[in-house]
Amino acid sequence: MKSPPIVPLPVPSVRAYDTPNDAGGSITVEWELSPVDSVVRMYEVYRLEGSPEAEPVSAGFVLRGTQKFQDNNLKDGETYYYFVRTWVGEEYADSRLSNPAVPSAQWFHTGRKSALVILLIYGGLLFYYLQQARSGKPLYIRKIAGLEAVDEAVGRSTEMGRPILFIPGIGYVSDIPTLAALAILKRVAKKAAEYEAEIIVPNFDPIVMTAAQEVVKEGFMEAGRPDLYNEKNVYFLTADQFGYAAGVDGIMVREKPGAVFLQGVFYAESLILAETGHSIGAIQISGTTSVTQLPFFIAATDYTLIGEEMYAASAYLSRDPLSLSTIKAEDVAKLGFIAVFLIGILLETLAAITGNQALHFFKNWFSLF
């Protein structure tokens, strides 16, 4: 027996409002799903500009189960009305007209209040410790094994008469880990120049290559050995991920470096590089902020700079008081976070045990942001 055709039913209500936290020119339309949503082909959103009597224009469509549509490229200050057409097969039903909505731009992103508060507190801490450093107060920074081993790795490589291989990863110069890697490269280059060792830097990105050439040159100049600098050793390899991995593996196998530095942004090629480095018996110091690659580096290399240790590297190695002050502020901020977590855990656990809702005040205060 053939079932009767399903009649399209309109969406019960439509609401239009200025899209919050945007640069203007956008209205968000929301609706309740049609009672026959499961058989709806699509919801088509119509826009009426200026007045409810204006000619409707299709603004776009979404598939069934969707309750929101963002209409962009509108005129700020103009009034818009919307209705939603529910399509079932070739049949349709129109909803009532929405309320009028006027797009406008906002001067503050309310969704980023918490980020602003944290940034202000953290910024305050940074400036406080900068002032402390300027006044000449000594700052204690804990030892970082991976950075302590930099000189050892360069020295070992020199003793073995092998070159040093520095791999700045597959990040771009706009990535902070790549900039941190360049800071480490400078120190490695300086040490290599002092020991008269050869340093090879294959690059994934031409801009990083240009920056790396300058950094290595600067390192050699600081060591007083600009004559030893060889620009040809800092070169572009390829901008393809696995092509880069294959190229660097080839360099490792051919040149047999005594020390390998893997610093910067890494993805799936991290273990391929680190294991090849291990197979040639090089001392390896890795560092990345790619959390998914850290276990590979920890398993395959001798020393690993975990996350923020990499960012701390340039300050740690240069011992510049101003740079060190930012690390001090970072450590204090971390202490603050730990304290907040502990208080939160304690209060929430107590609330769960005692059933006292008042104890949720701490969590609720944070949810205000």
Partner: protein, 262 residues
């Protein structure tokens, strides 16, 4: 002096503007990041020429000096030239070098480039095995904990892993019991023997709860390891990275960190 000062001023203004842009959606701040990224893409497009220059010069020198494996460099330069010429030819003939009608590049991509990439990627399986072997050798308490956690997660997340876990842990416990019995036989003092035989008996008895509870609870334990201790450690690292990133950015914006400059 000016060579450093002007870039530092540009860095400071750009950095501060982008910080403002994060909190101000209104024009002209709203799409500032997008616009800066567009500029970056334009600049990086031009620097590709620098990259090509570096690459070709590097390999040309290898050929010129007849360095070891120089023919690999020759292959690279030939492949580069052929791809470039064919790309231009396809661009002129078809209108787009990446058009499916541009058969050479399509053929090259499908039958050379993709298999080569897949080959490199597949090496990862072997490298994971060798790295895991080194990391999981139970020499220290940390390595042992890592080994146990890894085994539980692996068995808890693979099909039929729970059933296999009973067999694997059963074999391990039987081996432990045999080892303890042999050790006990080599001992002379009664207390030591009793401890060894008792341990062996306990190992055998432990097979019963493993057989009973592992198939039911192993996936839950694996999920717990992934969702609680693993995620907690990961989030800790993320917080450190975020704070470190802000500190590094401020160092760059304020001109304290300038290693990237000439």
């Amino acid at each position: 002096m000016m060579r450093r000062t002007i870039p530092l001023i540009i860095t400071f203004i750009s950095g501060i503007l982008l910080v403002f842009a994060l909190f101000i959606p209104h024009k002209p701040f709203g799409n500032l990041e997008e616009r800066f990224n567009d500029w970056y893409i334009i600049v990086s497009g031009f620097t590709m020429i620098l990259g090509m220059d570096s690459l070709l010069l590097h390999h040309w020198n290898k050929i010129r000096r007849r360095q070891a494996d120089w023919f690999h460099s020759a292959a690279l330069i030939v492949a580069f030239a052929v791809t470039l010429v064919w790309g231009f030819y396809s661009g002129i003939k078809v209108g787009n070098p990446f058009d499916p009608k541009s058969t050479f590049l399509q053929y090259f991509y499908t039958y050379v480039f993709v298999p080569l990439q897949a080959t490199m990627f597949s090496l990862l399986a072997f490298f994971i095995a060798s790295a895991a072997y080194r990391a999981f050798r139970a020499r220290t308490l940390n390595a042992t904990l890592l080994l146990v956690a890894a085994v539980v997660v692996m068995l808890g997340r693979v099909p039929k892993g729970s059933g296999a876990s009973v067999v694997l842990f059963g074999i391990a416990l039987v081996a432990l019991a045999v080892g303890l019995v042999l050790h006990g036989r080599s001992l002379v003092d009664l207390r030591g023997q009793l401890l060894a035989y008792g341990g062996a008996a306990l190992s055998i008895l432990a097979i019963i709860p493993i057989a009973k509870y592992f198939p039911t609870y192993l996936p839950a334990v694996a999920d717990w390891i992934m969702n609680i201790p693993q995620l907690a450690a990961k989030r800790g690292i993320f917080i450190g990275i975020a704070l470190g990133g802000i500190a590094m950015s401020l160092r760059i914006i304020l001109g304290i960190e300038r290693t990237y400059l000439k």
